[in-house]
Amino acid sequence: MTTVSVDGVEVEVAAGTTILEAAQLAGRWVPTVCYDERQAPFGACRVCMVGVVGSPKPLPACTTPCRDGMEIETEEPTARRVSRAVVELVLSELPEAPAPHTELAQVAERLAVGEPRWGGAVHRRDDDLRHPYLALRHELCISCGRCVRACDEVQGAFALTATGRGFEANIAAGLDAGFEESSCVSCGACADTCPTDAISEISLVKRLKGA
């Protein structure tokens, strides 16, 4: 067993436990965007940065394993500054603010990140509403990889992929001809995990847009 302290709370964890898992055990909140407990840690969003005493720079909580005696500070100022800067960047790529119920909106609110100060390019609107249940709104995609991993690691349908690179990165189903033309089995695990409603239940999108 390994013992670490999280904001002064000591917890014993099994070997291989990540800082994020230790923080959860200690009842401390670490902001995350690309993390889903059903999936392997991905380390893409860089929002889960925490301070560790002795480390010259903040560390990503989701992919860093605990070492014995580690002193973790979830609200270390530099780490928190990076988290907030990244959340602000993410908000800046969306053509509209994420809906209040979404995980991204809630993390932003909790970190007190308001309207992003960045101008510049936002994602082009491109909505695919062809599937009876699943809506894919590319403009809300933040490339967190959760949908792709849900399809891969939970359902095993391998129907989704990350596409493009850099700022143009997004997602597609199959050969980008819609869910129905892909190997999608309509399980909805992608919509379930999406932190921005880029993939969501079409009934909820219609409610949003229609009435």
Binding site: V90, A121, E153, T161, A162, T163, G166, A172, S183
Partner: protein, 551 residues
């Protein structure tokens, strides 16, 4: 990297399947664009799901720009930028009547940008088909269809006895197999303190011993020949001029860690590298230096040469492994390190080409001799450096660590051509800091360079002359950074775009906000691309703030 996709590939690999990327590249070569039928075929042949193949097909430069009968690729690397700014692209675009990324309606010609053809010694460089032309008149010839291969200067050594800039002789492997054995070879490499030559400077011996200890039914050696740093053409020289040195280094790595197979990933921007390596590998097999039962022992080792498809970040080791397996070249969080889970989920050693080329000397002559190569410093071994076209004698040189940058620039490369004056040099690629002329007396070595915000990196020394506008340099570097971001981590994916946008217009740049952004990039990024791109910006903020248009 998805464990499941890797597992699907591994299962398919048993039937000697090509990777999805190889199938897609072949389709591009065959008909100049990708269709869904190509993607479906790539999926069927590689074992990768169709969606994953689609993802691959949208990632690599080589798969994106449609090709005409004459496919013109103009170099937008930093050496070409230092020589001519953005003029080459504008010139070709105007004369061919198509923008970069476009193909003429009659399919006769197409134009694409490419980042660094490795002809930094004679910019501007342009590639038409498989031929790279460079230097004065190259653009004219690209337009008129009279492209000819540009000559490449010979490499030289300032060492009394060259180590890297001479033909190999497989003496190291013979000695390792005959007398050293596995353990002692590993011990020699560890004792030699061979630091990685690809940028990070991580000790090769440590990587090897992790992999040697890792459990796995198979292990692999991967040579990182994805020398993407604009301005660097060192690995190009090694792969094309001394491929036997690289192959011997890989075999030694295989012997030391217990791997029977290696991959070299070379860049598609260097069309001559793969043929040179394949030719040498075939010769080595004939001579019993590769294959089964090497030199009459029970050691088996062979190599596969793979060509990338146009992506800078693939030079990062986890992205490199993804590319070797035909996946999207995106970075993965470590742990797990490749030494634990690499190719097909098996323990894998990833070393840079130059690093591996150092190994035969260590094996043949021992750690002591290797450490003595750079007598003035603690750093062991020699280093290849290369210079851009601004210099009087641009080429690849083998030097000891510890000379000053000024000695390298002035004594080795002859100073700038035509007596021009250095304004600044960027060392070690786009992620390296920029050294103003006033700091040229800094020693060329890991620690002294780090102390002034720079790094050894690949070893390229790229000079900007006094005519250079440093805000343009910032814009150029950030455009490169944003376009090459793999898109995986948020700070790099969005942050580099925002940073480039700040410099893309003439509007003043908010310094405080820029520094916040640089901090998020440095501390937040998943790999050295986002983490390193702020380094040259920091240099410019320190040394040339007045030129950046800050507020």
């Amino acid at each position: 990297m998805s464990r499941n996709l890797v597992e699907l590939i591994r299962r398919h690999h048993a039937v000697e399947a090509p990777t999805a990327l190889e199938v897609l590249k072949a389709a591009m070569d065959d008909h100049g664009e990708l269709t869904d039928a190509d993607r479906e075929r790539a999926a069927a042949l590689s074992g990768l799901p169709e969606a994953a193949v689609f993802g691959v097909s949208t990632f690599y430069d080589d798969l994106l720009a449609p090709r005409g009968e004459r496919h013109v690729r103009v170099c937008t690397g930093t050496a070409c930028f230092a020589a001519a700014g953005d003029a080459p692209v504008a010139r070709l675009s105007a004369d061919l009547g198509i923008a970069p990324g476009e193909r003429a309606e009659d399919r006769s010609v197409s134009l694409a940008e490419t980042v660094c053809l490795g002809f930094c010694h004679s910019s501007p460089a342009v590639r038409v088909g498989e031929v790279v032309d460079a230097g004065p008149g190259a653009l004219d010839r690209a337009v008129s269809g009279e492209t000819r291969p540009a000559p490449e200067p010979d490499w030289e050594s300032v060492l009394p006895e060259p180590v890297l800039t001479r033909p190999g002789g497989w003496h190291g492997l013979r000695r390792a197999l005959d007398t050293l054995g596995r353990e002692r070879l590993l011990a020699e490499v560890e004792a030699a303190e061979v630091r990685g030559r690809g940028g990070a400077g991580f000790p090769a011996g440590a990587k090897w011993s992790f992999a040697a200890k890792a459990a796995g039914p198979e292990k692999f050696i991967v040579a990182n020949g994805d020398e993407g740093d604009p301005g660097s053409y060192i690995d190009k020289y090694l792969m094309e001029r001394s491929p036997e040195l690289l192959l011997e280094g890989m075999a030694l790595a295989g012997f030391a860690v217990g791997a029977a197979h290696g991959f070299v990933l070379c860049r598609s921007e260097y069309p001559l590298s793969k043929p040179a390596l394949e030719l040498e590998a075939a010769r080595a097999r004939e001579e019993g230096l590769l294959g089964t039962g090497i030199l009459g022992t029970d050691f088996d080792f062979d190599v596969t040469i793979i060509e990338g498809a146009g992506s800078y970040v693939v030079g990062e080791e986890t992205a490199l492994l993804a590319c070797v397996q035909g996946l999207r070249g995106t970075v993965s969080a470590r742990p797990p390190f490749p030494a634990e889970r690499g190719i097909y989920g098996m323990p894998t050693v990833v070393n840079n080409v130059e690093t591996l080329c150092n190994i035969p000397f260590v094996a043949a002559r021992g750690a002591e001799a290797y450490r003595a190569l750079s007598p003035d410093t603690e750093t062991a071994g020699s280093k290849l450096v290369c210079f851009n076209e601004r210099f009087a004698r641009p080429s690849v040189y083998e030097v000891p660590f510890g000379m000053t940058v000024r000695e390298l620039c002035e004594d080795v490369a002859g100073g700038l051509a035509g007596g021009a004056e250095i304004k600044a040099v960027q060392i070690g690629g786009p992620l390296g800091g920029i050294l103003p002329a006033s700091l040229l007396d800094t020693r060329f070595d890991f620690e002294p360079l780090a102390a002034v915000g720079c790094m050894v990196g690949h070893g390229s020394i790229l000079a900007f002359d006094q005519a250079t506008d440093m805000r343009e340099v910032a814009r150029h570097l950030l455009r490169f950074g944003a376009e090459e971001s793999c898109g995986k981590c948020f700070p790099c994916r969005i942050g580099l775009r925002r940073a480039h946008e700040e410099f893309a217009t003439d509007a003043p740049v908010d310094r405080a906000r820029l520094e916040e952004l640089l901090e998020a990039l440095e501390l937040g990024s998943l790999c050295a691309h986002g983490g390193g791109m702020p380094a040259p910006l920091r240099s410019l903020l320190t040394h040339f703030p007045e030129e950046l248009g800050l507020r």
